[in-house]
């Protein structure tokens, strides 16, 4: 089984130095890319079927194609060559339960740099930023060193690899809010503004950082790109048995014997992952799982054979998200678990739109009341109503709709637990 993204990462996750990365084939993808036109590189990535690993699963090549280059863009915007274009690496990994990007950045920073450089070439960016989560200090160290190495080696800077292309690559430590992980909130944060989201359209590809064409890609997404360029789209597709190509960094957390991260073919089932994680700890039974971080719907214990790819998880009523699952066992209060999540989302709401700013704290306080035995039967109606009220389109961005995904599915799957809290006037697990 091929593990292109992580095969070279050392067990202690010490950063792979440039020489080691190069001898493992590193920067060959970049050389190949620069030998092609940006459009050809976009086509190559489009052909690979790579979809964004940040959570939304948007096809990466298509995302790039909306940047207006000379000759127009798929989005219909005219050529815009009068200033900077930006490529931004979204390394603000803050989805609860998710730590996949950290593994990639700590262990193999050059792989990310190469992916970012190829993406920058593909959209003809001249400035790239890595927007890094503040707590990721080890990543910051490894990336800073890698950038310096890449600069010295001529992969970054002026006239990259003897071409006419100049690219500046800078790292920016996020001030640290969940909203910064949303690409338009990230752009505002990078401009030194409040991390509130922007309305779309205009999409960042047309009017992004400082109003200039900008592409924001997730770390894992970009780490796939060098391999696609080096080995080709067909090779990449063959990495996965299903329709979603490539490998995926899956994670498992919860009360399992060996929680962790694995690079596996896209479409691995939840059951296989739980087996890899050594199964549930003694005496515990799995009651459900959040397949892709905190902002996804629960899958039930009956849905363990769902293939964890974008389309299959969507068909099962949830989202692949970041692909890092959180498992709920039968000795943990589902209300408490959801409370913990909603407290996080309520706190991380940017405060811009009313439903999210006011609705999520109400949800969190209601759940808290249930947990404290102060719940009322009408509380379940209020929770249920918020699931519908905080739907996409009613809120400004996707934060609140994501936040109520675990709530809505928990109310459906674990209804009796919620009701028990109300009737017993206490948390039955306490």
């Amino acid at each position: 089984m091929l593990k292109p993204l992580t095969a070279d990462i050392r067990p202690d996750r010490a950063a792979l130095p440039l020489a080691a990365y190069e001898s493992a084939g590193g920067y060959q993808g970049l050389r190949k890319a620069i030998a092609q036109t940006p459009f050809q590189v976009q086509q190559a990535v489009t052909a690979s079927g790579l979809r964004g690993r940040g959570g939304a699963g948007f096809p990466t090549g298509m995302k790039w194609s909306f940047v207006p280059l000379s000759g127009g863009s798929a989005g219909g915007a005219g050529a815009d060559s009068s200033g900077h274009r930006y490529l931004i690496v979204n390394a603000d990994e803050k989805e609860p339960g998710t730590m996949k990007d950290r593994w990639l950045m700590e262990g193999n920073p050059h792989q990310l740099l190469e992916g970012a450089l190829i993406a920058a070439w593909a959209v003809q960016a001249d400035i790239a930023y890595i927007f890094l989560r503040r707590e990721y200090t080890r990543c910051a160290e490894s990336l800073t060193r890698a950038i310096a190495e890449a600069q010295k080696a001529g992969y970054v800077g002026e006239r990259v690899l003897g071409s006419e292309w100049n690219i500046a690559l800078r790292m920016h430590m996020s001030a640290g809010r969940y909203m910064c992980g949303e690409e338009s909130g990230l752009l505002n944060a990078l401009e030194g503004r409040r991390a509130t989201p922007r309305n779309k359209p205009p999409f960042p590809q047309v009017s992004g950082l400082w109003g200039r064409p900008t592409v924001v890609n997730n770390v894992e997404t970009l780490c796939n790109v060098p391999h696609i360029l080096r080995e080709g789209a067909e090779w990449y597709k063959a990495l996965s048995p299903g329709s979603d190509p490539g490998t995926k960094i899956y994670g498992v957390s919860g009360k399992l014997n060996r929680p962790g991260l694995w690079e596996l073919p896209m479409g691995t089932t939840a059951r296989q992952l739980i087996d890899l994680a050594g199964g549930m700890r003694d005496g515990l039974r799995l009651r459900g799982l959040l397949p892709g971080g905190a902002s996804t719907d629960f899958l039930s214990a009956e849905q363990l054979d769902v293939k964890l790819d974008f389309d299959s998880v969507a068909r099962a009523g949830s989202r692949l998200g970041t692909g890092t699952m959180i498992v709920l066992d039968d000795h943990t209060c589902p209300v408490g678990m959801v409370l913990s999540l909603e407290k996080f989302f309520a706190r991380e709401s940017c405060g811009f739109c009313t439903p999210c700013r006011e609705g999520l704290p109400w949800v969190a306080r209601t759940l808290e009341a249930l947990e404290q035995g102060k719940g009322e039967s009408s509380d379940l109606d209020i929770l249920q109503q918020h699931v519908g009220l905080l739907a996409p389109g009613r809120t400004f961005c996707a934060l609140a709709p994501g936040a109520v995904e675990p709530l809505g599915s928990a109310l459906r799957l674990f209804r009796e637990d919620f009701e028990a809290h109300v009737h017993q006037k206490r948390c039955p697990w306490k």
Partner: protein, 926 residues
């Protein structure tokens, strides 16, 4: 009532169906909220503001949009963020949409205190209105509310953060629109705080608009709080701001004989939705302790109260004697008095004996500006024109300080060109505020400023040039020449000025609606001439160019049209024939000329009669003083910098024996036997004036005459909800007193009668059923942000002649060589402190900076001056004055002082001044 929708389908019109009813609207590119409000439909909103546009934050304006006739499910969309398209089908009344809007209100009310009874916003609160409109009545949220600590934000704004519903309008207005930096959104989630980093006065000169921009009671009028009354208890009338020449329309509110506050009266062509802080808070002079309440007659060294009849008799007799003696009475008018007052004085003394109470030099500037505007190198820009211009050249004028609302609109104009380019290139909607601002983050439009000192508009200008007045003129003349080679070129241009002129000319010429702004601020005729040349050149080049010239005082423009000469002329006439009668209308000569000159002018008159509403140096020096009315207790007309004749109406009746100044002059004329009968009312004054001055015809049409009736009644100044009408005087008599008569207007001091449907010039308040706040203004507009129904008030007096007649001004001869060691001293005006009446308001006075002289670092070094030192300033042998030194970026050889500010001497500016070190500032203060 609304006329936004033409009944007949027209080409290009958009057809849409709202709740089953079909509308054809001319609304290409507009959003659905704009369309619905323009149609007069009730749709609640918070974060949207007609001048700030859409950001989609509050989610209150949700409606249901259906794909087509077969779609019965539809989906919830935000109307403010959705462009209108042909064939759209939507529903405001859809149950799910109603439910969602009700839920949004419930969310907003989660943390809102139920303190309406003690909240200053109560009764005119947009949040209250929207809560009622959405039907949210019972709260289900049972947990604690978040609370905040409030801040002291200075003399104008009260802060009560617990009421905040986080609509973000305050910071969008304050930062994005007005360019303020000291109000911020802080914190996140349900704990967002709108305030300053620390307690302190809000610095921006437009901060008072927060009171109206805030949809609830977070930011309220602190001066109103000192003497609070509810909106419905305030007697109001359509009025004008008297504190500069922009002519902003206002709604002052009165109760129990005191003016309580001033609010914006929307006028699409003039001030739109906003006022500056001087205009909003200057009103307190009306209630001030320095008001003159009764006639005074000098006995020895003091002025003693006298009966009005006696005082008028004495003056009338003196005028009569003077006329008989052949040395007729002299009248000095005022740039801050109404046309009617100036005209009445002129009629009393005779045209040849009427002088405008400003220096001859100043009058020459006013005359030059009038000539330029009358000849019309280009049409005069209204403020709305200014806001829509796509290239701007400001020559010499610090507009931010001399015409603040014009500056606020110029600030928006600076982004017009880049915004238009971005909208086209990136397919953005003009109303998508965050997207448009985001797309042009670092771009500045073709906006050029040439000034002696830095101005607050510099931050939006592409180029700022710090030049001496003569160099500013040279830059203007050169720019005109670059645009049109037939415009005369100035001689001896420096290389940088030549290059700048080329760049500016190219940018102005590339624009469709370029604008040139200048004014009396530098008192430099050559700068005004240069501005006229640029406008003429642009017009000749086929551009839709406009010109704006800033006049110094509220009625400088109007009064100058009536006057035979200026103060120096009047002084010469008085000196030539001693013992004359001098009548001064609402003017403090000690602000217009050096004190010794004013003293000698007054001393050369035999009798000095001063008419004013407020005690000042001239009234104190007069023999007889007659109490007139402020704008709040009188009606009259003024001409703004736009040449717009506008009418203001008394808000409350004057306290007898005070009366409008023109009435005093008219009574004196009758008493002196110059007239058979007194004018019966304002209309008669206007009729006489317009007969004599056909150019002022528009004054008559600026508002309906006193005989106008709406449905047979006068238009009420009081609201139908006014409380305590019969109780107010019940301690004196159980009989309700009859309302005061008003012979000057069709308004009545009562609550009887209907006001809906009154012409905009008579509209005393914005109120509509269900819309108790200022947001009801959309019910009075043809279209959101369009003109008021029936037309925006005021009549433009000057349009360029059809035939191109004017000539270019020749560039002024090279500046007289700098005098050795002397500095060219120019005026530097301030929003707070430079204007006479507003400075009497405690809030404005507290915001006034101490008198100072600014000069460049190089000039300071030459003189061994450091910031904070006291400098000795001497002009033409006049007594030296000491002022604090400010080091500013300005051209060498120049210095500036702040006229009007306490401690600044009245000097004939511009002037050559000697500046030397007087005393060193204490080291500790450095």
């Amino acid at each position: 009532m609304k006329t936004f929708t033409p009944a007949t389908a027209r080409a290009g019109a958009i057809h849409l169906t709202i709740d089953g009813r079909r509308y054809d609207v001319d609304a290409e590119g507009k959003n659905l909220l704009h369309v619905c409000l323009s149609l007069g439909l009730n749709l609640p909103y918070f974060c949207w503001h007609p001048a700030l546009h859409s950001v989609g934050a509050c989610r209150q304006c949700a409606v249901k949009l259906f794909k087509d006739e077969t779609d019965t499910k539809g989906r919830i969309i935000m109307s403010c963020m959705t462009p209108v398209t042909d064939g759209m089908r939507l529903s405001i009344e859809d149950p799910e949409a109603r439910m969602f809007r009700g839920q949004v209100t419930e969310w907003l009310m989660v943390n809102h205190p139920h303190d309406c009874p003690i909240c200053d916003e109560g009764g005119e609160c947009h949040l209250q209105d929207m809560v009622v409109m959405t039907g949210h009545a019972y709260r289900r949220y049972r947990f604690t509310k978040r609370t905040h600590r409030n801040q002291d934000l200075g003399p104008f704004i009260n802060h009560e953060m617990n009421r905040c519903i986080q609509c973000y309008r305050c910071i969008r207005f304050y930062r994005d629109y007005a360019g303020g930096t000291d109000l911020e959104a802080m914190g996140a989630h349900d704990d967002v705080y709108f305030g300053r980093q620390t307690d302190g006065t809000l610095e921006n000169e437009f901060s008072g608009n927060l009171v109206e921009v805030c949809p609830t009671g977070v930011f309220t009028d602190k001066t109103l709080k000192m003497h609070y009354a509810r909106k419905w208890d305030l007697q109001t009338a359509p009025s004008l701001c008297v504190h500069c020449a922009v002519g902003c329309n206002t709604i002052p509110g009165e109760r129990y004989g005191a003016l309580r506050r001033v609010r914006t009266r929307y006028n699409g062509e003039v001030n739109g939705y906003f006022l500056c802080d001087r205009g909003r808070y200057g009103y307190e002079f009306v209630n001030g302790g320095r008001r003159l309440r009764q006639p005074l007659v000098r006995t020895g060294d003091s002025l003693q109260p006298a009966a009005a009849a006696d005082a008028v008799s004495r003056v009338g007799a003196a005028v009569s004697r003077a006329t008989g003696s052949g040395a007729s009475a002299i009248g000095i008018g005022s740039p801050r008095a109404s046309l009617e007052t100036n005209y009445a004085l002129r009629s009393l003394v005779g045209p040849a004996n009427f002088y405008l109470g400003v220096s001859d030099r100043h009058l020459a500037i006013l005359r030059l500006m009038t000539r330029v505007l009358r000849e019309g190198p280009a049409p005069i820009a209204s403020v709305r024109h200014a806001a829509r211009s796509d290239a701007v050249l400001v020559l010499g004028e610090d507009v931010w300080n001399t015409a603040p609302i014009l500056a606020l609109n110029l600030r928006q104009a600076s982004s017009n060109a880049p915004a238009a380019a971005a909208m086209k290139q990136k397919k953005l909607n003009a109303w998508d505020d965050a997207a448009v601002r985001g797309a042009i983050r670092h771009e500045k439009g073709p906006f050029f400023i040439a000034s002696v000192e830095a101005t607050r508009l510099d931050e939006v200008a592409r180029e700022c040039h710090r030049l001496s007045p003569s160099d500013i003129a040279a830059l203007g003349f050169a720019t005109a020449h670059e645009i049109d080679a037939s415009a005369p070129a100035p001689a001896g241009l420096s290389e940088p000025i030549q290059a700048a002129a080329q760049r500016i000319a190219a940018a102005l010429k590339a624009a469709e609606h370029p604008l040139v702004v200048s004014g009396a601020g530098l008192a430099a005729p050559e700068v005004i001439q240069a501005a006229a040349n640029v406008a003429r050149a642009l017009k000749k080049a086929g551009r839709d160019a406009r010109i704006g010239l800033v006049f110094p005082e509220a009625n400088s423009f109007g009064a100058s049209l009536l006057a035979a000469g200026g103060l120096d002329d009047a002084g010469r006439v008085l000196a030539a024939h001693g013992g004359r009668v001098l009548l001064v209308a609402e003017n403090d000569l000690f602000r217009q000329m050096a004190p010794e000159s004013a003293r000698s002018l007054l001393a050369s008159a035999g009798h000095v009669v001063a008419v004013d509403h407020t005690t000042q140096a001239t009234t104190e020096a007069a023999e007889i003083v007659l109490p007139s009315c402020t704008y709040a207790e009188s009606s009259g007309s003024m001409v703004s910098s736009e040449g717009r004749a506008q009418r203001y109406f008394s808000v409350f009746p004057p306290l007898e024996p005070a009366q409008s100044a023109w009435r005093w002059f008219d009574e004196i004329a009758v008493r002196a036997g110059k007239k058979a009968a007194a004018w019966k009312g304002l209309d008669e004054v206007i009729r006489a004036m317009t007969q004599e001055f056909p150019e002022l015809r528009g004054v008559r049409d600026a508002a309906p005459g006193a005989d106008y009736r709406l449905n047979g009644s006068r238009v009420p100044r009081k609201s139908i909800r006014e409380s305590g009408r019969t109780a107010v005087t019940a301690n004196v008599s159980l009989h309700e007193p009859p309302p005061a008569r008003d012979p000057d207007s069709p308004l009545a001091y009562t609550m009887e009668g209907a006001s809906i449907g009154a012409p905009a010039s008579l509209n005393a308040r914005f109120w509509s059923p269900g819309w108790n706040s200022d947001q009801s203004v959309s019910k009075f507009q043809v279209e959101v942000s369009g003109q008021l129904i029936g037309g925006d008030p005021g009549v433009r007096l000057f349009e360029p002649p059809a035939q191109e007649a004017g000539m270019y001004f020749p560039p002024s001869p090279a500046d007289q060589p700098a005098r050795d060691g002397m500095l060219m001293l120019v005026p530097r005006y301030h929003v707070f402190g430079s204007e006479e009446l507003s400075s009497l308001a405690p809030g404005i006075a507290s915001r006034t900076s101490p008198s100072s002289i600014s000069l460049s670092r190089a000039e300071c070094e030459k003189r061994g001056l450091r910031e904070g030192d006291r400098a000795r300033v001497t002009v033409d042998g006049a007594e030296a004055t000491e002022m604090a030194v400010l080091i500013r970026e300005m051209p060498e050889g120049t210095a500036s002082i702040a006229p009007g500010v306490p401690g600044t001497p009245v000097l004939p500016l511009p002037a050559w001044a000697g500046v030397t070190l007087a005393s060193v500032a204490a080291e500790a203060e450095r």
